[in-house]
């Protein structure tokens, strides 16, 4: 591999994944490899288990949550089941939400929900994939519970004063998913098209789903 990349304009480092042999490993990379090898040698899990789990992690994305939300928008019975038992309702759509309970909180004209984990980084990973860095940041975890409207404004989300903001603080045993309100003007859209309006951030509750007509 060449050190030069063929152009000379000034810019920051490329988002470039070096070959793993190129650099010395960090202390914690060494620790990760050593722990994995020891656990495999001891038969706690196999190398195959590790590969399959890595694939499972990569296979999860906000598209899983979006599928669940879109179904809830078009099927009131499904929505009722989702609010009653999110893990079971997701399973109906072939989405494995895992064994840690997830509670879906519904946004309404008078109530807006937003999720956080003040103590650590709990997140509905099996419905949304791995969390964004800002969700795990000190600023988000510290401030959301005290000044949610100011934090939402930083995400470009302005809520009317008469809308109640509910901040849901997750734990290791209970995670939340926000069911956003279906945008106006989407009456003619089918479920797949609706799912494409549902972003990760609106299922966290920091933004609202885009209205396709605006």
């Amino acid at each position: 591999m060449s050190d030069s990349h063929g152009h000379s304009h000034p810019h920051g480092p490329h988002p470039f994944q070096p070959d793993v042999e190129d650099a010395p490993l960090t202390h914690y990379q060494i620790l990760q490899l050593a722990v994995a090898e020891l656990l495999i040698e001891k038969g706690v899990f196999s190398g195959g288990d590790l590969r399959r789990t890595l694939e499972a992690i990569d296979s999860r994305s906000p598209a899983d949550g979006a599928k669940v939300v879109a179904r809830a928008w078009v099927d009131p019975d499904f929505k009722a089941r989702l609010l009653a038992d999110t893990n079971a309702a997701a399973a109906e759509l072939g989405v494995d939400a895992g064994t840690i309970p997830i509670t879906t909180v519904e946004n309404t004209p008078g109530i807006h929900n937003v999720i956080v984990c003040t103590l650590c980084s709990c997140y509905p990973r099996l419905l949304l994939g791995l969390p964004p860095d800002w969700y795990k940041s000190r600023a988000y975890r510290s401030r959301l519970v005290r000044e949610p409207r100011a934090v939402l404004a930083e995400f470009g989300t302005a809520l009317a004063d008469d809308i109640e903001v509910r901040v849901q603080d997750s734990t290791a045993e209970l995670r939340y998913l926000v069911l956003p309100m279906r945008p106006a003007g989407t009456g003619g859209m089918d479920e797949d098209a609706l799912a494409r309006l549902v972003t990760r951030d609106c299922m966290i509750g920091v933004t609202l789903p885009d209205n396709p007509d605006t």
Partner: protein, 138 residues
């Protein structure tokens, strides 16, 4: 083989309870991870693609905490991360905290020993350096 000491490998090793609890008002003590409601700057909307080794840490935790194995629980991981202490909590990256806490918990539970971990780490590093030397990078 030099003697391997736990703190040289892992921050927070052997700490059962970290008692640094700054008071943020007259009535409430809190530990360093308990930050809900404190002052902080703007939320930086940063994202990054998870590096392969970070996903490996995540996968190790999922395998250990899943119902099939139940070697450790998510709340134990959280306690392990909190026990790294305020310095490590702020200085290590997210998945560095995870793998440090997972390692401490595995040692605490007797799943692995500190000696075999130290030897395995030396072996992993030597193997990687040999690969780099072959590729002309070292």
């Amino acid at each position: 083989m030099p003697e391997i000491s736990l703190p040289s490998l892992l921050p927070g090793a052997g700490v059962t309870h970290n008692c640094v609890m700054p008071a943020d008002d007259k009535t409430r003590l809190r530990r360093h991870h308990d930050m809900g409601g404190l002052d902080a700057g703007p939320v930086e909307r940063s994202e990054h693609d998870y590096a392969p080794w970070e996903k490996c840490v995540d996968a190790i935790l999922r395998l250990l905490s899943g119902p099939k194995r139940g070697v450790l629980q998510i709340d134990e991981l959280r306690r392990g991360i909190e026990d790294l202490g305020p310095g490590a909590y702020d200085e290590l990256s997210y998945y560095e905290r995870w793998i440090a806490a997972i390692s401490n918990l595995l040692i605490e539970k007797g799943v692995i020993s500190i000696d075999e971990l130290g030897r395995k780490m030396a072996e992993v590093e030597a193997r990687h350096e040999a690969e780099r030397a072959k590729g002309g990078k070292a």
